[in-house]
């Protein structure tokens, strides 16, 4: 093998046809870059969804009111106010497997404090909610069971509310007014970010549900939902059944007016969604790769006429078939390597830029790089090499005459 000489020949051929070389490399750059960008974004989104699912708390069972699973034409889920604080207390008392139970009540309200005001979502909960939701405090303390029982005027606020009302003051110990009722801020929750629906989960104020019901909003007994922590994922189905049985028992012969769901189902749905998204992005990337590949193919095929005559010249002055094949292989490999490298760097750069602009997480996967570079290299080599391989087998005079 005349490897060195052939490399020189290949480099000269590439330099001689700068435009063709650049266009071929461009096809590879676009294909590789698109795949890496798309797949990185898709993977990042999936990872974010998974993180959000985890941040909802592990092994959480949620009981929602209304709309029973067996019902015919009825109001949508949550349309009835059928779930009560007593249900929550009954679960806590009688379902032994429940690690922690908290009702959740929610209502929007204007909150005043530090001479500023801010509309936010006010939540009524039991102190167990931080454990169930896996949502620790950043500073201060939680309200106590005693404060829950006495419907104390204490509040734990999210970081967004803290920023809005107390931009340059430590919120701990400050007073806020909700519906004209004064509350003392005793704790600030750690930041949790946005949920699936794009809602800012840190834009909230948490009160003891007793205070929420009796002092601020005058709710009778109903709650939005009840959350229960199970000891393990394996224990969840049995616990769900026990809860459902208990609640049904409390309702006597009436049709069930509640739904018991677990976090796993939600997690599965979310993961499913993000997987679909990744597949969609992957499909778009695949199309880009295909378009890039067709670009490479076109350039290679269009240049066959000129290159066949070139091959004829080379054969006429003594090139062996394998010199020709090696030359075209080296050319295709150099273009694939350069194009692939630029495509990888460009793809990662673009993904990073998008993530910086939009705050999306980005996960560059080696498998997408391998796939994209491999495919482009294959297309480049196949379409650069195959016509050359055929032309190299011609008699020199036939290659020279090729029209």
């Amino acid at each position: 093998m005349r490897l060195l000489a052939t490399t020189i020949i290949a480099l000269r051929a590439l330099r001689r046809n700068k435009l063709r070389s650049a266009l071929t490399a461009l096809g590879i750059i676009i294909g590789v870059g698109a795949v890496i960008t798309m797949v990185s974004i898709g993977n990042g989104a999936k990872a974010q969804v998974e993180a959000q699912v985890a941040s909802l708390g592990r092994n959480v069972i949620t009981i929602l009111p209304g709309s029973a699973t067996t019902a015919g034409a009825r109001g949508g889920q949550g349309s009835a106010n059928t779930l009560t604080v007593d249900d929550a207390l009954a679960i806590q008392r009688e379902v032994s497997g429940a690690v922690a139970v908290s009702p959740e009540l929610r209502q929007g309200a204007q909150v005043l404090g530090n001479g500023l005001n801010w509309r936010t979502s006010v939540h009524g909960v039991a102190p167990e909610f931080t454990a169930i939701r896996a949502w620790p405090l950043a500073e201060g303390r939680l309200f106590t069971d005693a404060e829950l029982r006495s419907a104390a005027k204490v509040a734990v606020i999210g970081t967004t509310v803290a920023k809005q009302l107390f931009p340059d003051v430590d919120p701990l110990g400050q007073n806020i007014r909700i519906n004209n009722v004064p509350f003392q801020v005793v704790g600030v929750l750690s930041p949790k970010g946005f949920n699936f629906f794009g809602q800012d989960q840190d834009d909230c104020v948490h009160l003891p549900y007793t205070s929420f019901m009796s002092r601020v909003f005058r709710w009778r007994n109903t709650v939005n939902n009840i959350i229960v922590e199970a000891p393990s994922a394996a224990a969840m189905p049995r616990l769900q059944q026990e809860i459902a049985d208990l609640l049904q028992q409390r309702r006597g012969g009436r049709e069930p007016d509640f739904t018991v769901r677990n976090q796993l189902e939600l997690a599965q749905t979310a993961t499913e969604t993000s997987r679909t998204m990744t597949a969609l992005l992957g499909a778009i990337a695949g199309v880009s790769l295909l378009v890039g590949g067709i670009g490479i193919m076109n350039i290679m095929l269009v240049s066959v006429t000129e290159r066949t005559r070139e091959i004829g010249i080379r054969l006429a002055i003594g090139a062996h078939d394998r010199d020709i094949r090696l030359q075209f292989l080296i050319e295709a490999m150099i273009l694939s390597m350069i194009g692939g490298a630029i495509g990888v760097l460009g793809g990662i750069g673009l993904a990073q830029t998008l993530s910086n602009l939009n705050g999306w997480p980005v996960l560059v996967s080696t498998s997408s790089i391998t796939l994209a570079v491999g495919f482009s290299a294959f297309v480049g080599v196949a379409f650069g090499f195959y016509p050359a391989h055929k032309a190299a087998k011609l008699d020199p005079i036939d290659a020279l005459r090729f029209e």
Binding site: L4, I313, A316, I317, D321
Partner: protein, 259 residues
């Protein structure tokens, strides 16, 4: 001394579907070292087919071809490629230079495909020497598109020379050139021939053939005449005459050009 080329009853038939074209119909020929042959004949008489056979660019349908005593038909593709590289130099009517490639790199090409490759400095030195022989050392880094037809043909000749072939073949090397440039190219061939290179060229111009030593006339795929050149022209002298005539023409036209 054994001949450089020995052709025995060479035939070449082209097949285009049903149609058979007998381009060469039994040519036998001997060419000895130091000869300078012009092949003449009408268009379509089989000159190029014969040249391509001599140049191992094409294979005859039948007949035997001994080059330096070696039967070419017994060689495989690679051995024939090496033969083209080492023993044969081919100059095409259409130049067939690599486009967008400098004269120097075009001339270096046969050395890159040589079995015994020399260093790149030596390669460059030899290529420059070959360009010097054809009087183009100053144009080494010009692209073919920056050269005139005669200069391109001289680059092609330098490329054919650079591996010091036994036999230089040229198919209508002056076919695309004006008469003065043609004489210049013939001058190059005459000098090479004097240095001992055997040359076979095709031309359909009798005055060009007069620069050679032997004329073969081909008709319908057969050699119909084979005779030495009488009254041979020397390119250097003819060129001098031409330049003189040119100068005279310029003198006579001077009053119109001058103020």
């Amino acid at each position: 001394m054994s001949p450089v080329v020995q052709l025995r009853d060479i035939r070449r038939t082209y097949r285009n579907g049903e149609l058979e074209v007998h381009a060469v119909r039994g040519i036998s020929l001997e060419i000895h070292a130091g000869e300078f042959i012009a092949i003449m004949g009408a268009s379509g008489s089989g000159k190029s087919t014969l040249m391509n056979t001599l140049g191992c660019l094409d294979r005859p349908t039948s007949g035997s071809y001994l080059l330096d005593g070696v039967d070419v038909a017994s060689l495989d593709r690679e051995a024939r490629a090496d033969l083209r590289n080492q023993k044969l130099g081919f100059v095409f009517q259409g130049f067939n230079l690599l486009p967008r490639t400098s004269a120097l790199e075009n001339v270096e090409l046969p050395m890159l495909y040589a079995q015994n490759r020399v260093s790149s400095t030596e390669m460059k030195r030899r290529a420059m020497a070959a360009l010097g022989i054809v009087g183009l050392a100053q144009r080494a880094d010009h692209l073919p598109s920056q050269l005139s037809g005669g200069q391109q043909q001289r680059v092609a000749i330098a490329r054919a020379l650079v591996n010091e072939p036994r036999l230089l073949l040229a198919d209508e090397p002056t076919g695309n050139l004006d008469s003065k440039t043609s004489v210049e190219v013939m001058g190059v061939f005459q000098r090479l021939n004097e240095q001992g290179i055997t040359i076979v060229m095709v031309t359909h111009e009798l005055d060009i053939a007069q620069y050679c030593k032997r004329i073969l006339v081909v008709r319908d795929g057969l050699v119909v005449r084979d005779e030495p050149v009488t009254g041979r022209l020397i390119a250097a002298e003819e060129l001098k005459k031409l330049l003189g005539a040119e100068a005279a023409a310029q003198l006579t036209s001077a009053p119109f050009g001058a103020k």
